[in-house]
Symmetry: C2
Subunit: 273 residues, 2 copies
């Protein structure tokens, strides 16, 4: 089962474009979890079990594990999803970018060590830095295109001969990097106009859209500008507003309610357009 | 002792612009190390002890640890350098790049978990993605500018209003990102012309130059085009041609000889120009 097939099946089965970002911040965990063994894994496990019927993907953010020596809890988290919820694809959000032989090691890390279905990568080093990932045809390669932060303007919006750098990245993704049909792009929710431009360039390619929720992106504009003709094509990612919907013992049910609310809000928007 | 001060002192004390890349590939280790405990740490330790008087920096490449579940051996490697060779700065080559709050976690990873003196970062996400690193004023932030791989052309060489994208990155580094005096740039050895252009933009800012040795960069052209007026300003990085100079039990003394030869070759070039 390839990443793309898993994703399409999850969009349909769960009627959901919601991707839950697994960005553990132990200082925000409910008190009863903080002092137990493997608190990050236990937190993730509860979130996953509460939301697996509501999402199209999970996206663990590598930095949140790396900062606190929790790579093994990341391994356990992905393994848990693969065992208990094997229909939900896992995107390792580690934004790798390096030269060829080193990129090959990062591909081993993402796809063999962690067994992720997809990984996020940075395009600054160009085609040969992406190839070691792209050649895993059954896995997804999600390339940064237009990110959701203010500084995205510094490089990504620069004019490169009549179009912006991020539009050029979208073109390269559509024309060069997608030979195996396993390429996707990151386009932030905070810039809906850019989302429409990228959608026009890449056809039905899936777009991972962070920035709704805590970062303030407008769900209706995201859906309107980003969806494909069949009303899919998006992985709308939310982390903090789901994970920390409650900081009490009811955190998992509060996360379920927040994920459900986001799914419903998205679905209202996509049925309207 | 800041990264920049450590680096300047090491340039002088060891009369060396050589940076040894610690990119362990266990399949290339000598047989007697392969089956022991913590082979990556033991390999690195022997390389470090054999070369510490010949180098201006060490640069462990994160992918080579991440691919084989060896983060703790990376921690031990950096800790060993800090204890036994505290005058040699350590650059964690992990090319991080993410939005603000996540970048802050990566800064914790590099500077607090691993206690690296400097870290490599990717500029594609712009200023606010670099700030969490830059605000550690005593640590170095080494921004990718013009990399040594063929695909560097795809984005980095694009014209952005009369100059290339990598020149624009060099300008931003000089004008915006270096308020704390802790910024450096990566410019590959395989493109000496680009090195001269970047040097002209950034004044005395240190440049990390990978790509001599296995990747074929020309040492004399690198020194001529990249050195500052006082004959320093460069961290010329070599990994495989030093680490795997011999695959027998004499690997450490062979690494010492290879590092010494590179240092001497560099010094002959810089005294000539």
């Amino acid at each position: 089962m390839t990443f793309m097939n898993k994703l399409r099946a999850a969009w349909k089965r769960n009627d959901s474009l919601v991707c839950v970002g697994l960005d553990p911040e132990p200082e925000r965990f409910p008190a009863h979890l903080k002092d137990g063994p493997a608190p990050i894994f236990q937190f993730n496990k509860a979130i996953i079990d509460a939301t697996a019927h509501l999402v199209c993907a999970y996206k663990p953010q590598f930095a949140h594990y790396a900062a606190c020596d929790a790579e093994h809890q990341l391994e356990r988290t992905i393994e848990y999803i693969r065992q208990k919820h094997p229909d939900i694809p896992v995107i390792l959000d580690s934004k790798r970018g390096d030269v060829g032989n080193t990129a090959a090691r990062y591909a081993v890390e993402a796809f063999e060590r962690y067994e992720a279905d997809a990984v996020t990568v940075n395009p600054y080093l160009g085609t040969d830095s992406l190839e070691p990932f792209l050649k895993y045809a059954d896995r997804g390669v999600v390339v940064l295109c237009r990110t959701s932060n203010p500084g995205a303007r510094d490089l990504q919006d620069l004019d490169v001969g009549g179009r912006t750098l991020y539009q050029k990245v979208a073109e390269m993704a559509a024309e060069r990097w997608n030979a195996n049909g396993n390429c996707a792009l990151v386009v932030g929710a905070t810039y809906p106009k850019e989302l429409a431009e990228v959608r026009a360039i890449v056809g039905d390619m899936p777009l991972l859209v962070p920035g709704v929720g805590a970062q303030g992106g407008d769900v209706e504009a995201v859906v309107k500008n980003g969806q494909t003709r069949d009303g899919t094509g998006l992985m709308i990612s939310s982390s903090r507003s789901i994970l920390y919907a409650s900081r009490g013992e009811d955190f998992a049910s509060a996360a379920r309610a927040a994920a459900q609310a986001l799914r419903d809000q998205i679905n209202t928007s996509r049925h309207r357009h």
